[in-house]
């Protein structure tokens, strides 16, 4: 399969070898990748709670979204870069990891959910954003987002319990 070939190539690039062989690099990347969870999932969670009517109820949805989502996107860019560096260091091992594959699928689902929300029900946000309870479709989007991101975190953590890892 082509992807495996790509993983083999990536793992043997000088940068990937440096990440893998340095005492500090991989650990530091992983630390920042973990702390980045707070910025991505912690912020999007607040938007989800607003959509579900469980938090920040008195703030209009568009205020919450426009204030918080830039932090989420900024954090996501950071996660994507650090994540790709981490991936490059052990690409072949991750190619075989069920948890990692699941994580990528869940990430795609989380992205798709957000995209659908922004292109549909959020377009008409001015009609409903001041109500404490959002329309059903917005609530469903909030709930799905919450579940997908929790699952992404769980799958990410589960990588370390798969075959080939001794870290417990």
């Amino acid at each position: 399969m082509h992807l495996l070939g790509f993983c083999r190539w990536l793992e043997n690039t000088p940068a990937a070898m440096a990440f893998r062989n340095s005492t500090w690099m991989f650990d530091i990347l992983e630390t920042f990748h973990t702390l980045g969870i707070v910025q991505v999932a912690g912020t999007i969670m607040l938007v989800d709670l607003r959509l579900l009517g469980l938090g920040l109820k008195r703030e209009p949805v568009s205020d919450v979204v426009s204030r918080i989502v830039p932090w989420t996107l900024w954090g996501f860019a950071f996660m994507a870069v650090s994540g790709f560096c981490l991936f490059s260091a052990e690409a072949v091992k991750l190619y075989d990891s069920t948890a990692f594959r699941l994580k990528l699928v869940l990430l795609a689902l989380a992205g798709l959910n957000a995209l659908i929300f922004h292109l549909t029900v959020y377009r008409r946000a001015t009609e409903w954003e001041n109500a404490p309870v959002a329309p059903l479709r917005a609530r469903v989007a909030g709930l799905l987002s919450l579940l997908f991101w929790m699952a992404v975190i769980a799958a990410g953590r589960a990588i370390a319990y798969g075959p080939g890892y001794d870290r417990t």
Binding site: I37, V38, G42, D63, R67, I68, R157
Partner: protein
């Protein structure tokens, strides 16, 4: 000081709960994942209040309004952390006892919680809001303490039980 707690860690690491935890990879993984999700909730909400204090968050509203709405979620995050933390500790009590970064984490945890319920509380709940340098300083101290804890926690796993090694081998 640390040595005096050794019997406690030894006892805690050999309780039936600890044995059950350390014998099950699924239980260890679940407790770790729950701890990580709790961290997201706890630090995510605190970060949003601190960003608001710094003037980056939801700044159209007084900080106290945002803080009041998020307080129950921060509390929930704190409860999750204080339940799953000791569970994780049970599965590797002696490793933590011998880990420099575990003690750094515990050392930061006490001031972080105290700060959150005292100085931070006064500033985030202030009406009219505290502005300028004092608010920003409190936000910076809060972020440093909480992210310091998370950073130290991550490093327990990397550096491991270094205190068991002869002196001088800190990072190897």
């Amino acid at each position: 000081m640390r040595q005096s707690l050794q019997p406690f860690f030894y006892w805690y690491g050999h309780t039936p709960l600890a044995n059950m935890m350390s014998n099950s990879k699924v239980l260890i993984a679940s407790a770790q994942i729950a701890h990580l999700l709790g961290m997201t909730l706890l630090l995510g909400t605190i970060m949003m209040v601190d960003l608001t204090l710094l003037g980056f968050g939801i700044k159209r509203y007084p900080v106290s309004r945002v803080a009041k709405e998020l307080a129950p979620w921060t509390a929930a995050g704190l409860v999750i952390m204080f339940v799953t933390g000791p569970l994780n500790l049970a599965s590797e009590a002696m490793k933590c006892y011998d880990a420099t970064f575990f003690w750094i984490k515990m050392g930061l945890l006490v001031p972080a919680v105290l700060f959150y319920f005292t100085v931070h509380r006064r500033v985030r709940m202030a009406d009219p809001p505290v502005s300028g340098f004092r608010a920003r300083l409190v936000a910076c101290v809060s972020l440093t303490l909480w992210f310091g804890i998370a950073l130290a926690a991550k490093f327990i796993g990397f550096v491991g039980d270094d205190l068991r090694q002869p002196a001088g081998i800190f990072f190897n």
